[in-house]
Amino acid sequence: MSLSTLITGARVVDPASGSQFEGDVLIEDGVIAAIGPALSTSGAEIVEAEGAMLAPALIDLRARANEPGSAGTEMLDHTLRAAAAAGVGTLVLSPASGSGIARPEDVEVVTSRALTAPVRLLAAGLTHTASGDMAEAGLMLRAGAAYIGEGSGQIADMRFLRNLLSYVSAFDAWVSLRPEEPSLADGTIAHESSMSVRLGLPVRPALSERLGVERLAALGELTGARILLDRLTTSDGIEALKAARKRGLEMAASVPLTHLLFNEVDMGALDPAFRLDPPLRAEADRAALLAALANGLVDVIVSDHMPVAAELKANPFSDAPAGSANLEALIPALCTLDADGQLPLFAGLKALTSGPAELLGLEQGRMEEGAPADLILFDPSAPVIYGKDGLYSPSPSAFSGRRLQGRVLKTWVEGAMVYAHHAE
């Protein structure tokens, strides 16, 4: 077996620098050994890119899995294979994965699963235990947790939140918190708008997110904690982030993939596939998220992959659990947004490569000599009907049946090819 691979004739893109050129990339010993025009080497396996795009593999900071602990219909193996097929080289399991990643032992379970995973697998640790005590953040981070974050449901107790942020600030780790005012958000399932009110749904105002951002900004200022605003979805939230940034606060923010493509009108037919949390917002909110990505205010896009069992989704909108399987939609979604002139591909890729890499201090996510050879080759213009050719994730997706463009052809992690698309 060859230790080196030469990818020739690719459109090499580096989202971090925004550069793009025709060229070759040589992989040796798991790292990018050389980037340039007309590279040659003896003994390397040659992969002809035939003009496809070659980019750093994606880094997804938030995907829910059904493990550790109780497994649902989508096993972690499914999720991992879906990640490889999606071009995700680094997958961070969200803290609420499985029965919850609340102890260092849970992080170790994920870390040991990572040994046999096709992609890099990391875990994020929960902020609190099932009994409501502060979780062992220090030990979880020491065990390799990527960050500390809330599960489902927001922390309402300001004193606890202050102590938590103070405590974790000492470890220089990110605390991912969903900006929400619990008293406004609890029990709601739709964005507050004239449309959702007419549908008779319990609604959540955008104000809830704005208040959430503002209070987290204030707590961040007090405690010096590094707060990652988890899944901003409203223009109000973006404005509040802008104000906090203006005051010089070190706050990062992520946006969920679904909210870049869909708005509340997609939800209007009350298809449970579009039951998401946070709920789909107005078109103006979607536009604000895209603008915030394009101008760099928002650092990260997350798949917010959430495997919900199909039989649970087979219920009325209000009764179906929130969530959608989104991993394999990442590249098609970015390519479609680019083709429609809504979000430049570079901005989208950046928020899934160098953006999250910088946040977590990871080496991968860059097209640089010496960087880990986590790469994807994709065809940005291949038309796809999402799910038509089958998916690795068996869980229902909001993207199902959607006409998109963009297909992952190959994925490498640490120089090893972990996925190759086979044309039918």
Binding site: E136, G138, L164, Y167, S169, A170
Partner: protein, 318 residues
């Protein structure tokens, strides 16, 4: 002649920051005499003969109460103890009434421990009776700081330039507050180290440097003062668990590698062995001066009681 003399000016001790370097010297000199006498078979030195000391402990305590009681008794005072379990302290009267009632019995010294910050000062102001603060909430515990200082000076001599780390729950610690005042006065370099949620937000303005990483905090330290971790800090959501605390902030031989090779360890007690300090370290005669602290406690309290009562060597030539 050019010689000036200084008279010990205090008729009570409610805060460590009231003391100057000469006061500290006078207390230490006198305590040293008591310390050696306390090792004799005849420990009596009846300088407080005829005086009445009331130990008023609103908060449970065994070691501090015993230390004050022994100190007063060795000095020949008549000692009365009221403690938390005592019904007379729970009759629902105001603290001012309690103070005035006791004062009417003509005690000479009140030793007060109370859960409220500044309660000892309240007693002194209400009654005018010389009051020693034996711990008031998270405010101060001046005699603990004095005995810590005494123990350190017995070991090192002058503390100027010595690096001393106080490790643990600084936020709720009266011991830390009193110690920072005295150690800074003696020109020691004070470091405060603990979880960020257990350090006051403005601790860096106390004249001490603040650390959240134990290995960094202990670097080149001459002494480490380990504080007791109260169990209720976990349930109140300040820190996750005693397991994590022990792993990150528990002091043991390995962690002390960062400190100077001759670094000593203090603890005000009572200890949670295996949490903030390992048994092996607490019991290591080369490192631990914890029992020296307890012994010094009686001698230092004898000196304080004498001096505030005006029955000690009250004057010193500068």
């Amino acid at each position: 002649m050019g010689e000036t003399s200084y008279r010990f000016p205090h008729r009570g001790l409610t805060t460590a920051s009231a003391l100057n370097r000469v006061d500290l010297q006078m207390i230490a000199d006198r305590a040293r005499e008591h310390l050696s006498r306390n090792r004799e078979t005849d420990k009596k030195h009846p300088s407080l003969k005829g005086l009445t000391v009331i130990n008023l402990f609103f908060e449970a305590s065994t070691r501090t109460l015993a230390s004050f009681e022994i100190a007063a008794k060795r000095l020949g005072a008549d000692v009365v103890n009221f403690s938390a379990g005592n019904a007379s302290l729970k009759k629902g009267e105001s603290l001012a009434d309690t103070a005035e009632t006791l004062a009417a019995m003509r005690p000479d010294i009140l030793v007060v421990r109370h859960q409220s910050p500044c309660a000892a000062g309240f007693f002194q102001n209400t009654t005018g009776v010389a009051t020693v603060n034996a711990g008031d909430g998270a405010h101060e515990h001046p005699t603990q700081a004095l005995l810590d200082l005494f123990t350190l000076e017995e070991h090192f001599g002058d503390l100027g330039g010595r690096r001393i780390a106080i490790v643990g729950d600084i936020l709720h610690s009266r011991v830390a507050r009193s110690n920072v005042a005295l150690l800074s006065l003696m020109n020691a370099e004070v470091r405060l180290c603990g979880p960020a949620s257990l350090l006051p937000a403005d601790a860096d303005r106390w004249g001490a440097s603040v650390f959240h990483d134990l290995d960094t905090g202990l670097e080149d330290c001459d002494a480490v003062m380990v504080l007791r971790l109260q169990r209720e800090r976990m349930s109140a959501g300040f820190i996750p668990s005693s397991r994590e605390y022990a792993a990150l902030y528990g002091v043991n031989h390995d962690r002390l590698d960062a400190a100077k090779p001759e670094c000593i360890v203090l603890h005000p007690g009572p200890m949670n062995r295996g949490v903030e300090i390992t048994s092996a370290l607490a019991d290591d005669p080369d490192r631990s001066v914890i029992l020296d602290q307890v012994e010094a406690g009686v001698a230092v309290r004898m000196a304080v009681l004498e001096l505030i009562a005006g029955r000690g060597p009250q004057e010193v030539v500068l």
